[in-house]
């Protein structure tokens, strides 16, 4: 170890990475990455036309983006600039495939909810307007205010501006991670590989590319932490470096709760460790100041926004804890782990790759932790990343429960920062050892490392996403973005003319669309210990239905007749209203159409599949039938 170029002192290490530019490989790899984007676009085209070849072409395209860059970054030849360019090119290419998937409007659950808040800012000229989907969206207005400002000033739509802001956020995420890990490890090679491992986290390609506050927050977090390292490292920079880190931190606090908590916690722990290690407060004064400011600002904002925040993360956390306790005490069966969506299983091959990716990460983790320990880095930050990586194992345990799966998935963006750094140190230690210092002997290990990263990358995507979410295509019942089609979007846009503030109920997709495009309020909840979606499951309009309509003041009922044609792909039609252990048959068509037969309920819209009922006559004392 001690003799390798990557573990030598910083000055020697700096010489081990070529300076200047290595233009030909860089140009070639930019072309292969773009070629991968083109292949994915062709796969999407095929999927939209229901071609069977779309699925394999999609994976080939993804691997064409990822593997050549992997192979290049595992080697020693690439310069620092080339490595940074390559991770940025890869990050943007992987972002582009989410944009190409839905190139005309936002369709993911979180996107439609945040869209509503962005529209509210433009409409009211104010922040913090109540969001009926997730109250926390409005309380963390960073992405929303940025998008709204860009939209208002440019005159372009929210979709175009949101996509542009998120492209910048992706740039900041991959670039910021590279710079952060480079500074902590003194190695651009480790930094490049760490970003590759990070890109294999289950949420990177799709979830973290969506129009969601976390997508922007991750980029700001990476830059905040990098700026924080400058506070400690740059002794001559005065207070200005501290101010930049504080500025970025405040923007982060205004953008996303969990990410700001994680970053604040990391800075505080780091400052404490530096104080203990260096035993001189003068050396770490600026970092201590930053930690104090970050903690105070984060806590203050968290207290102020707590009622909204707890509704977003509280359910997930308590669900995880309760689920884990239930599994440990054998009260409930474990959930089928490493499936993207409860109730849905990817095809066998995808599941095998998903499990293989987790196994490969678990195998390499101890090896990486030992490599970090042996490396004895100058900064304690790398040890911090190692501690973060060690959290991977406990988060996997959460995947055994239905409630915990969501939490485990959401933590991967943070855990993979550490995991990426640790595995990168291990790779570099192995690939850079004297035993394989001859170029011809270095190629097979590099190929193996590339294969390893490829499996982890593909497995991450299959673990984090149901297959139907990855490719566009025909409408599917209760299948996230695949349930958003022109008919549903038109109905929602038409419903914008309905009186603002009225309550409505529909299936999950219609609730998301109508909330995004109208000023109606979706309703969720229970009545007599049953989710109010039960309104759509009984073939006859019974007294319970009328009580639900009255209690929740449901003015409009949105029905999609296609719900009666198939079981829900993601296990439920109506959020929080599903029979346990799941549906055996699709919801009855007569149950969906009963409102048209009922007295005193109007049918004000019909587009074939979608019907909108108005219960207003019930409210004014209609007594037909």
């Amino acid at each position: 170890m001690a003799t390798t170029a990557e573990t030598a002192p910083a000055a020697i290490r700096a010489r081990s990475v070529p300076r200047g530019w290595t233009p030909r490989p860089l140009a070639g790899l930019i072309v292969t990455t773009a070629g991968g984007v083109l292949l994915v676009a062709i796969a999407y085209h095929g999927a939209r036309l229901n071609k069977g070849w779309a699925d394999p072409v999609f994976w080939v395209g993804l691997l064409l983006m990822f593997l050549p860059v992997c192979f290049r970054l595992t080697g020693r030849q690439a310069s620092r600039g080339e490595r940074l360019c390559l991770v940025i090119a890869l990050g943007l290419a992987l972002y582009s495939i989410k944009v190409l998937l839905e190139p005309t409007l936002f369709t993911f659950h979180d996107e439609l909810g945040q869209y509503r808040s962005a529209v509210d800012i433009l409409r009211t000229g104010s922040l913090y307007t109540r969001n009926p989907v997730v109250p926390a969206y409005a309380f963390y207005p960073g992405l929303l205010s940025l998008t709204a400002a860009l939209s208002r000033l440019s005159g372009l739509g929210i979709f175009v501006c949101g996509v542009s802001v998120l492209a910048v956020a992706r740039l900041l995420l991959v670039g910021g991670l590279f710079l952060l890990i480079e500074r902590l490890s003194d190695s651009p090679r480790i930094a490049g590989l760490a970003v590759l491992v990070y890109a294999a986290n289950p949420n990177f390609v799709f979830f973290d590319s969506q129009f969601g506050y976390e997508s922007l927050a991750l980029g700001l977090a990476a830059m905040t932490l990098w700026a924080a390292t400058a506070v400690l490292e740059r002794r001559g920079a005065g207070l200005r470096a501290l101010l930049v880190a504080a500025l970025l931190n405040v923007a982060l606090i205004l953008t996303h709760h969990l990410t700001s908590y994680a970053v604040s916690l990391a800075i505080v722990i780091w400052a404490v460790v530096e104080l203990v290690r260096r035993r001189s407060w003068r050396e770490t004064l600026r970092l201590t100041l930053l930690a104090g400011f970050s903690a105070a600002a984060t806590v203050a904002y968290a207290i102020w926004s707590w009622p909204a925040t707890v509704s977003d993360i509280g359910t997930s956390v308590t669900g995880s804890i309760n689920g884990l306790i239930s599994v440990l005490t054998s009260h409930v069966a474990t959930r089928h782990p490493y499936t993207a969506v409860p109730g849905y299983s990817n095809p066998v091959l995808e599941r095998i790759v998903g499990l293989a990716s987790v196994a490969l990460l678990l195998i390499a983790l101890p090896w990486g932790l030992v490599a970090v320990w042996r490396r004895r880095p100058r900064s304690t930050g790398l040890f911090g990343l190692a501690a973060c990586a060690a959290l991977y194992l406990p988060t996997l345990a959460l995947r055994l429960t239905s409630g915990g799966s969501e939490t485990s998935n959401r933590t991967s963006e943070f855990v993979f920062v550490g995991l990426g750094a640790v595995l990168a140190v291990a790779f570099v230690a192995r690939l850079g050892s004297r035993a394989i210092s001859r170029r011809v002997l270095r190629t097979p290990p590099r190929l193996l490392a590339t294969l390893y990263l490829g499996v982890v990358f593909v497995g991450g995507i299959t673990v984090g996403n149901a297959l139907y979410e990855l490719l566009p295509g025909n409408f599917q019942v209760a299948a996230a973005n695949r349930s958003v089609d022109p008919e549903g979007v038109f109905a929602a846009r038409w419903a914008a003319r309905l009186p603002a503030g009225q309550n409505f109920l529909g299936d999950e997709t219609d609730e998301e669309l109508f909330t995004a495009f109208t000023r109606l309020s979706q309703q969720r909840g229970e009545f007599n210990n049953r989710g109010i979606g039960v309104l759509f499951t009984d073939p006859r309009l019974n007294p319970l239905d009328l009580q639900i309509i009255s209690y929740y003041k449901l003015r409009y009922l949105v029905v999609d007749k296609r719900d009666s044609t198939a079981l829900p792909a993601d296990g439920h039609y109506f959020e929080g209203s599903e029979p346990v252990p799941g549906y055996r048959h699709p919801v009855a068509r007569s149950a969906l159409l009963k409102f048209g037969r009922a007295p005193c309920i109007d049918q004000v819209f019909s587009s074939g599949h979608l019907l909108i009922y108005d219960t207003e006559p019930l409210g004014r004392g209609c007594h037909e039938g």
Binding site: G20, V37, A41, G81, S154, A241, C600
Partner: protein
């Protein structure tokens, strides 16, 4: 010092031009979009990084990232401050505040002690630039191909998703009546037959022809004594034929008579 003064003048002029572009050019026009993107996503960061000696020492990539991150942070915090100050978030407030922050930072950068730069990074040679440019050009062509392919796929899918929507709503103001509308997403011009009945009796028949992607709307006056209105749409030119129905109860008191306006 002269370089810094020139930089100050250049960035100040650009900020002013962008602000003017946002105010004076048409909404959604390319020049206004460019002005807005520069004003919000680049100029604040460029101005603030001129205050940071260490930013001047970072390699180009890192400096660009820092510039973008600071720009985003400035706009986010600026929006929050405007809200707290009770100022409406609109074109004027955002443009003035972000432009003002940028200008103040530029002035502060001009007045601040000159950053101790470690010197310029080595510039790439012409042959290197040519190779990378060629790669970027080819990649750009491939991305354009991806965009065109996606565009064609989206268009084909939209044409495959065919539907006709019929709706009816009571008119909120003015004389009693209803507003009826049709939306054609069948991919071709469509002739519809609309049969309107009030309290079970025929009231009106309409024959709109609606272009693909087009909407048709009309208002029908209905007597306050009219109780139930039903609109049936059909189009027999297609197989299977299109049938839609909507119904409204117009008054709170049921009536069995056919009282038309």
């Amino acid at each position: 010092m002269r370089a810094r003064a020139l930089g100050f003048l250049g960035l100040s002029a650009t900020t002013g031009l962008c602000a003017a572009g946002v105010w004076l050019t048409a909404s959604g026009s390319p020049e206004r979009a460019i002005a807005a993107f520069l004003l919000l996503l680049l100029l604040p960061g460029l101005a603030v990084t001129r205050l940071l000696p260490q930013a001047q020492d970072e390699p180009g990539g890192a400096r660009l990232l820092l510039t973008l991150a600071i720009s985003l942070a400035v706009v986010i915090i600026d929006s929050a401050v405007l809200y707290v100050a009770g100022i409406r978030l609109d074109v004027h407030s955002w443009t003035l505040s972000v432009g003002g922050i940028t200008f103040v930072a530029l002035v502060a950068g001009l007045l601040a002690r000159a950053p101790a730069s470690r010197g310029l990074a080595p510039r790439p040679q012409l042959s290197q630039v040519a190779a990378i440019s060629a790669g970027v050009l080819v990649a750009g062509a491939l991305i354009v191909g991806a965009v065109l392919t996606t565009q064609a796929g989206v268009r084909a899918q939209a044409q495959a998703d065919r539907f006709t929507a019929l709706w009816a709503l009571p008119m909120g103001q003015g004389p009693p009546g209803v507003r009826i509308g049709v939306f054609n997403h069948q991919g071709a011009a469509e002739s519809y037959v609309l049969s309107v009945s009030v309290n079970g009796s025929p009231y009106a028949s309409l024959n709109p022809t609606v272009q693909p992607g087009g909407r048709w709307e009309t208002s029908l006056p209905v007597s306050p004594r009219g109780h139930q209105l039903i609109v049936r749409l059909s189009s027999v030119s297609r197989s299977p034929s299109i049938q839609r129905t909507v119904q409204l109860r117009l008054t709170p008191t049921p009536s069995s008579s056919n009282n038309l306006s």
